[in-house]
Amino acid sequence: MLLGLDTLTFLFLFLPASMLVFYLCPSKYKNASLAVMSLLFYASNDWKNLPILLLSLLFDYLVCSKLVRFGSNQKGRRTIFWSSILKNILLMVLAMAMMELGWITMPLGLLVYTVTSMGYVIDVYNGDERFDGKIMDYLLFTCFFAKLYAGPIVQYSQLREQWENRDLSLERINTGMKLSVSGLAKLVILAGGNIQIQTAIQEITPGEESVLSVWFLIITSTFALYYTLTGYCDMARGLGNLFGMQLPENFHYPFQSRTVSDFFNRFNITVTQFINRYVYVFLGGDTNGVLSTTVNTLLTTMLMGLWFGIRLNYLVWGIYFAGFILLEKYFLMKYLQKIPPIFDRMYTFVVVMFSFTIFSGDSLKTTGYFLKSMFGLNSLPIFNNAILYILSTNYLVILLSFFFATSLLSLIGKMIRNKVSHITEIGGTVLYLGVFVATISFMI
């Protein structure tokens, strides 16, 4: 990544410059300054696709203004509304399909700004959102540089309320710094570490594979994806705070979910909410009987899978989850509610972990190979030197990945805070400073 959130150039040149411009600007130009910096950030990373971003967003902006202007002319409103929806869906599908075919690399933030903008158009059309005509606010809302990588998806009204009473207090800055540092550490140390392990396992020569190596390939692929997404989202939220914006949480310890349905309430939360709101509920949700609920659930989870790309495996990943969600809804839930929490968490963890055999494979054949290997059906040795070496030289990253996937640290922090609050505050700041220095050292 050229000017990624995890580069020194961003942290020590672009971010401070953006902050200075933002803070020194008069209040009414703050959003405009940040929107300009966001476009500059976009241009630095992906200038070739900047026209697509601008054209797409300006089109949606004009659609919104027309929706307001048409007033009670329902036919005209419907026509331009659907033209915008169609444009957005086509843009996403084409980009993902061309990326899958290897013709292009995915334009930066295309899904995030398109979905955000599409949600806004739908809300304006339905009368759930007010169109205020402030184009720079609209640009900032759709393409704020911190959320281009992995979201979260926000609603315009959430931000507008905050802009009206912008909070740039020390507390907000403090929260922002902590979130940014934790996001950066997740990206650089945990996601980077897991990607390294994953690559090392993938580079094991064919004859040296083992059951354990396939298990850890799946585990590290899962963690690599999780910490990349959650790292970017934490950074987006942290950086948002530094500019007086509170962005919604996108991941909330999904690996300790008690059910698969709960997993989707904790994983990629804002995307799930978007799909639920604009697809699931729109289709009738679970109010029209078993068949309708089944179809709606299937469609929703398949879209959740396709969020990551147009690939058969992602589609099957969605179907796999739909199966478990429906199973829980009509059969398992009564039992899951009765068993001790540790067991239902284990059940969910296993289901989720196995889902990544589908997610990580580039084809269903590969998924089949993973599954067979994991259960020793491919005549592979249980373990060998190759995997033992990789594990012994990376054990801490793996242990930390498991630890930070749970809310244990947060619980410990709360316990200490309840007993010695003032020391915890200082200790916490020192800890975050230490993590920041350690993370920077990994980037050198």
């Binding site: 401070p16 902050m19 630095s44 740039l168 207090s169 800055i173 012994s392 050292s441």
Partner: protein, 381 residues
């Protein structure tokens, strides 16, 4: 309002001062954007320059290494961290190049009219296995050397130094901070090689040992992110019996000559301190001694053989070392191998499995021009 924005401005200044500090203190190392610069390349170069110039970058780099080592890591950028030693992992072979190298060597040896010897020198990671983490997946150099030698049987005389070096793995056979053999390692290779070349190896006692530096940091150290290694000692073995004198000539055309095997001035002006060995690998070195015999030897190889040559020099009136990598096909064709009584082809396993320089042996002139052309057509590098 001013108080409200103060925390944000202070944070921006704190972060920005790091970047500005790096820019000011190392202005020269930062790329200057111009219209010919591609934006992607510019940002990459800017990131690299920041990484080098950020305050306390060396300390931060060491911190990262320490933290990774606490997490179990013992290898960085293909360099294993041993007990006060750096060991480069040469990785697995380039199958195609290796096969072509073996074929070129086989064909050349078959057609060579002078006795030809082949030696593959194992690298540090194959010998100093006690310094490499257990279970580290290493390429089996011992097996590779044996298999390669089997294919050369009857065509060339092979020299296997692996067992001798491995039996002495606890000794300082290789520099701690460089991939090269020490003088001691060179001596053990010489012991095996001299016997194969029908010479009686001189005992160690016949050599005076001179320690010329205790602060040598070699190529591996320069590449390594881990720096907590004590320096190497460079020792020189000088054969002092029979008033032996040597004249070392580099690149005959230039007549760059030293009256010693160890021109110490090259430690100052050469690539690194190891340039003291014959004046460094310049591609074509001839060593003439006052020894009154007709023994001459042509060595074709890479710089891994340099530590061995001073010992061999005790047996020959003339040794010529040529590094084919540094010579064009035309220059190689001018060398008449039949001027020498024996020929040694010596490469480190690392060079042999990753580079195609070995295939240039087909340009060497050992027989009739017609025959040579046939071989060159059969094995085109």
């Amino acid at each position: 309002m001013k108080r409200k924005i103060l925390p944000g401005i202070i944070l921006a200044l704190a972060l920005g001062s790091v970047g500005v500090w790096a820019l000011i203190t190392n202005t020269g190392s930062f790329p200057k954007f111009n219209r010919y610069y591609h934006l992607d390349d510019y940002l990459d170069d800017l990131e690299a320059a920041l990484s080098r110039s950020i305050p306390f970058s060396d300390n931060l780099s060491s911190l990262a290494i320490d933290l990774k080592m606490k997490g179990g890591a013992r290898e960085f950028d293909n360099i294993f961290i041993g007990d006060d030693i750096l060991v480069e992992d040469i990785g697995y072979p380039d199958e195609a190049k290796t096969e072509q190298n073996i074929q070129a060597l086989t064909r050349f040896s078959e057609n060579s009219r002078i006795p030809t010897y082949v030696m593959l020198i194992p690298t540090k990671c194959a010998i100093k296995q006690n310094e490499v983490p257990q279970a580290a997946p290493l390429f089996n150099q011992k097996q590779f050397v044996e298999q390669s030698y089997n294919r050369l049987l009857g065509k060339a005389t092979v020299v296997d130094v692996y067992p001798t070096l491995f039996s002495k793995l606890d000794q300082d056979l290789y520099y701690k901070t460089a991939p090269d053999l020490t003088a001691l390692g060179g001596y053990y290779v010489y012991e095996v090689l001299a016997q194969r070349l029908d010479n009686t190896p001189k005992p160690q006692e016949d050599f005076d040992i001179q320690y010329i530096t205790h602060s040598y940091y070699g190529k591996t150290y320069q590449k390594s992110a881990y720096k907590d290694i004590s320096p190497d000692i460079i020792a020189l073995y000088r054969y002092q019996k029979n008033n032996r004198n040597y004249i070392v000539t580099h690149n005959e055309e230039y007549q760059y000559t030293y009256n010693t095997l160890y021109p110490e001035q090259m430690m100052e002006v050469g690539e690194d301190d190891l340039s003291v060995l014959l004046g460094g690998d310049t591609g074509d070195i001839t060593i003439r001694s006052n020894l009154k015999n007709e023994n001459t030897l042509l060595i074709v190889g890479d710089d891994s053989i340099l530590p061995v040559i001073p010992f061999l020099a005790a047996h020959y009136s003339q040794i010529r070392f040529i590094d084919l990598e540094q010579m064009s096909a035309e220059e190689i064709e001018k060398i008449d191998c039949s001027d020498y009584q024996r020929m040694l082809i010596s490469y480190s396993v690392d060079t042999f499995i990753h580079q195609d320089v070995v295939q240039k042996v087909v340009y060497l002139n050992t027989q009739d021009q017609e025959e040579m052309k046939t071989i060159q057509q059969a094995v085109q590098p």
